[in-house]
């Protein structure tokens, strides 16, 4: 019985890791089409990637979008997390529900509703629209991780600040913030990664000439075949995420991120 379970565990890991490994390996392929085993290593597809204007633009736009939307999501989400962390009762539960809903809400419906909303307002520049959508989608990650960090802080410390007549801002800056910043950072980085790979809302909000990297990859896969430049684009996606995660590990430690 136990052998069967271990075999299934091995399959679980294969199912989850194999598609990503195959993409990374094929990105370094020297041949026109992916053959296994690869006859050598080359960076030609990365050169093709940066030589293709639409790809390069999509890559830059995705990074800009991820930076702007995650900073906004971090600012607003930190406020939300601080507000709901220590409050109990019906109003607080409702607020928590509203703040966290986008975590599980079908993003395709959010994308469509925002598109119609922007159309009714008389149009919205594509980049602003994407920033708004990704801010809404990224905010819950920050709210959740900030609220969890606040709950881990001993309330006595904040009360001590209050009893010393520190105002709310001073109390926050001198006591709470130094204790919860890993939570803020972890939430913000999640919002960044989410924005960098997000597809379903972006499908509705990208326009001609304004495309994110995942959407560009998707378009390419739909309309042209066998191009390993997509593998290079995907490998860049994975590479950037690894860099960000590694940075997070150095700054905060990943153990707390998995637990949250």
């Amino acid at each position: 019985m136990h052998r069967l379970l271990v075999a299934m565990t091995v399959f679980t890991y294969l199912f989850i890791l194999l598609p990503i490994l195959v993409v990374v390996v094929s990105a370094f392929s020297p041949t026109e089409f992916f053959v296994f085993p690869p006859p050598g290593l080359s960076l030609r597809w990365f050169a093709t990637f940066f030589g293709t204007e639409s790809m390069r633009n999509a890559f830059t736009l995705s990074i800009q979008l991820a930076i702007v939307s995650s900073i906004l999501a971090t600012l607003v989400g930190t406020m939300g997390g601080l507000y709901i962390a220590r409050r109990r009762g019906l109003a607080a539960s409702i607020l928590q529900g509203i703040f966290l809903a986008p975590l599980v809400f079908p993003a395709i419906v959010l994308g469509l509703s925002l598109l119609l909303f922007f159309k009714l307002l008389g149009g919205m520049p594509a980049f602003t629209g994407l920033v708004i959508a990704h801010c809404v989608l990224g905010m819950p990650f920050v709210v959740r991780s900030v609220a969890a960090s606040v709950l881990a802080v001993d309330p006595v410390l904040e009360e001590a600040a209050q009893s010393l007549r520190a105002g709310p801002l001073r109390g926050f800056a001198l006591v709470t913030l130094p204790l919860i910043w890993p939570g803020i950072l972890a939430g913000g980085i999640f919002a960044f990664i989410l924005s960098f790979g997000e597809l379903n809302a972006a499908l509705f909000l990208t326009g001609p000439g304004i495309s994110t990297l995942p959407i560009e990859i998707f378009d390419y896969l739909q309309f042209s075949v066998g191009q390993l430049v997509i593998a290079a684009a995907s490998a860049l996606q994975i590479g950037l995420i690894l860099i960000v995660v590694f940075g997070l590990e150095r700054l905060v430690g990943l153990a707390r991120v998995v637990r949250s």
Binding site: L4, L5, V6, T9, T12, Y13, F15, I16, L17, L18, P19, I20, L21, V22, V23, F33, F36, L75, V76, G77, M79, L82, Y83, I98, F99, A101, P102, V104, F105, P106, I108, V109, L112, S113, L114, L116, F117, K119, A133, V136, M139, P168, L169, F196, G197, E198, L199, N200, L203, F204, P214, I217, F218, L221, Q222, A231, Q237, I241, V245, V258
Partner: protein, 288 residues
């Protein structure tokens, strides 16, 4: 009221206002607007026509084409849930008794792919399952098959790929639930001469059901809106509900797309309620 209390009230209002503003203006209001559009007729010049009607919903319910797709969406969801439950539970069951450190690293290995865009993960399966993909090549070299298998553009490919994309959520939530079960409970069952099967059915499974429930909710909700994987692995003819929403929007039939979104949300609500009813996680927590 002292000045300090005033400042505190003001500060807590200032804290709440921005996130509440974002949630209301960019999440709740657009959703309300979407519903408003869904109960109007379509118009060639505007987003929707003036008269209020239920025709979009009636069209979805009465058209056998749409009904087939709703059925297929539910079928795909059920398949994904069943596969995720089997593989997710087995993996969590193997990982849970490991040392916290080993468990952490093994779970981390599973969670990293969640950070990679779904289009990349679907592309990986595209490369693996294609006519000249790795799976066909390996099977042919091993002599298991003569001609390459056709795996892409099938319901099975879509369900399987979506299952693997959602599987980490399932493993993580079940594993967290299993790891918190006190081993005394299992030992107590064994000392009462329960065999391993009885111990699992009466002790381990009920205690892990909150994790199973939250994993299933996540997996189902995520799989409902996985448009890109469905297009890439299912081809142009494998449509699920989410593809219809996108197709209707691409042809500017906004009211129909809006109505389909609410059918999707209704399905999400009903299935989530069913999962919670069957697994009843709160009952277990209540016993504490």
């Amino acid at each position: 009221m002292t000045k300090l209390v005033m400042t505190r009230r003001l500060a807590s209002f200032a804290l709440l206002a921005p996130p509440l503003f974002v949630s209301i203006i960019f999440f709740i209001v657009p959703l309300g607007l979407l519903f408003w559009v869904s109960i109007h007729g379509s118009s060639s010049s505007e987003l929707y026509s003036d008269q209020i009607t239920a025709e979009n919903y009636i069209a979805i319910i009465s058209d056998s084409f749409y009904l087939t797709i709703v059925q297929r969406t539910l079928g795909a969801g059920a398949t994904i849930l069943a596969l995720c439950l089997v593989f997710g539970y087995a993996t969590a069951y193997v990982l849970a008794p490991l040392s916290p450190r080993a468990r952490l690293w093994l779970l981390l290995l599973l969670s990293l792919p969640l950070l990679v865009s779904n289009v990349v993960r679907a592309y990986g399966w595209l490369t693996l399952l294609g006519r000249q993909g790795l799976v066909n090549v390996v099977l042919q070299k091993a002599g298991a098959i003569d001609a390459p298998l056709v795996m892409l553009n099938t319901f099975q490919a879509v369900a399987f790929a979506l299952m693997t994309i959602m599987l980490p959520y399932m493993v993580i939530s079940i594993c967290n639930a299993l790891a918190t079960i006190d081993s005394y409970y299992r030992e107590a069952a064994q000392s009462l001469r329960a065999n391993p099967f009885q111990t699992f059915v009466h002790v381990t499974w009920p205690l892990s059901s909150p994790g199973v429930a939250s994993g299933m909710l996540l997996v189902f909700l995520m799989s409902l809106s996985a448009y890109v994987a469905i297009v890439l692995l299912g081809g142009p003819r494998m449509k699920l509900l989410v593809s219809l929403i996108f197709d209707s929007a691409a042809t500017f039939r906004w009211p129909l797309a809006a109505a389909m979104s609410f059918v999707l949300l209704a399905i999400a609500l009903v299935v989530c309620a069913l999962i919670l009813m069957v697994l009843r996680p709160q009952r277990v927590q209540g016993r504490g």
